[in-house]
């Protein structure tokens, strides 16, 4: 199953490392990353594959949210379907 990870917040050292480590710990494979920093505002969007992940997606969402809060970032993971539904016919 594919999902989208988004990270939004103030740029700081180690954001990508932290998110990637957490995903790797749960066997979530990163398929694609785009990232921009505009006037210190950090935005990263990742396409990931969660088929090898043993935890339910909701639990991963909680872990990412917690990790984000610790750094003052908004980090979320959502099933890709929601974006496809809204932006593709």
């Amino acid at each position: 199953m594919k999902a989208i990870v988004t990270v939004i917040g103030k740029d700081q050292v180690g954001i990508i490392a932290a998110v990637c480590t957490l995903l790797a710990e749960h066997s979530i494979n990163i398929l694609d990353i785009t990232q921009t920093v505009l006037q210190e505002n950090f935005t990263m969007v990742m396409l990931v594959d969660t088929s090898a992940c043993s935890l339910p997606l909701g639990d991963i969402a909680d872990l990412l949210d917690k990790a984000g809060q610790a750094r003052g970032l908004s980090i979320r993971i959502q099933r890709e379907d929601i974006f496809n539904a809204m932006h593709r016919i």
Binding site: I4, T6, I8, D32, T34, T36, T43, V45, L47, P56, L57, G58, A61, D62, S74, R76, I77, Q78, R79, E80, D81, I82, F83, N84, A85, M86, H87, R88
Partner: protein, 452 residues
Amino acid sequence: MLNQHEILQTIRMIDQQHLDVRTITMGISLLSCAHSEVKVACDNVYDKITRDAEKLVATGEAIEREFGIPIVNKRISVTPISLVAAASRTDNYAPFAQAMDRAAKTCGVNFIGGFSALVQKGMTEADRTLIHSIPEALSTTDIVCGSVNVGSTKAGIDMDAVALMGRTIKDLADRTADTRGFGCAKLVVFCNAVEDNPFMAGAFHGVGEGERVINVGVSGPGVVYHALQSVKGQPFDVVAETVKKTAFRITRMGQLVAQEASRRLGVPFGIVDLSLAPTPAVGDSVARILEEMGLETCGIHGTTAALALLNDAVKKGGVMASSHVGGLSGAFIPVSEDEGMIAAASSGVLTLDKLEAMTCVCSVGLDMIAVPGDTSAETISAIIADEAAIGMVNSKTTAVRIIPAPGCKVGDSVEFGGLLGSAPVMPVHPGSSTDFIARGGRIPAPMQSLKN
């Protein structure tokens, strides 16, 4: 492949523009629960609801977390209780409401609807019993909602029922006087009620429906408002197109959630109701959308035209996005639940008369309106009759959810809290409609041709 802009647009809609799925409502048929003994029938009702909707809340929450989209309410609608209770030997149906209340709380849902009767052409003994039981039923329960359909385009308006409902609303307000008549926020009087509406307080599971069904109500006034900010000053063609595109996206999201809920629960998917349902939160208001179109305040001249465009464009955008569209679908204009409406009504610009005109083109009717506590039952009946006439003649659903707030005068404000918000007490016309309501009988069904 999705691009970053699209993904972030969705995130912004959820984070900043209050995009959400307003409700997943499971419809449950209670026809099999009928029994001559009230206690047995009520036990049947409790057992059936708790069995059928056992996983509703957990499933809704799981979908919410996986898709990252808020699902604000999980609700249950049931067969109109006047049909279920008709077999029982009793002159009080309040125990049925209490059984519904207990069952809904066990399931963990926000509201349960269906303490209802359909009396557009006449009342059975059971219908009368149900209506007489409403004040006790809704004042002794917390999350049970009731509705009564008093008219339809095909049947006309049952004026005996209209008269009865005026008295019922007054009685219910008095019994819940400690909360300024909050009980009345859980009661809707309909004309042309729909059988698959997932929104409260008017949801019930129609007799034409299957055993169980999943209906989903989407919302998003904030998203539409935000989209219109990007087309300031442009012609209405552009406004309509913008609303349609936005409604399409919102509804696609609702359709996805509805299908997912239906699959996980093993319950057939019914409809998506693509209504713009406001909340008291700033930035989630239908009134502010109308004002964004160029009106200084909601309620001034031009408001009805703006609402007509909005209501129609929402339907047009949503219809293609869902395999089955139903329910009420359009723009709601509840006064207490809409920050912009509250402001417009408090300032005296938005009046009951203008609201009535707006209900000719909105999706439902006079919704969540507080009037002075000394408003007579006949005046309330007359307001219901006016509103039902609009629905009957225009072949649309109209409704009245009115709160004659005990002890309150024009200028006061009634606090309901949560999504129900706060309602400024609005003035009603002082003249008497007593002789009009005392006539009773039926207003005949209207012509469906020679439409002028």
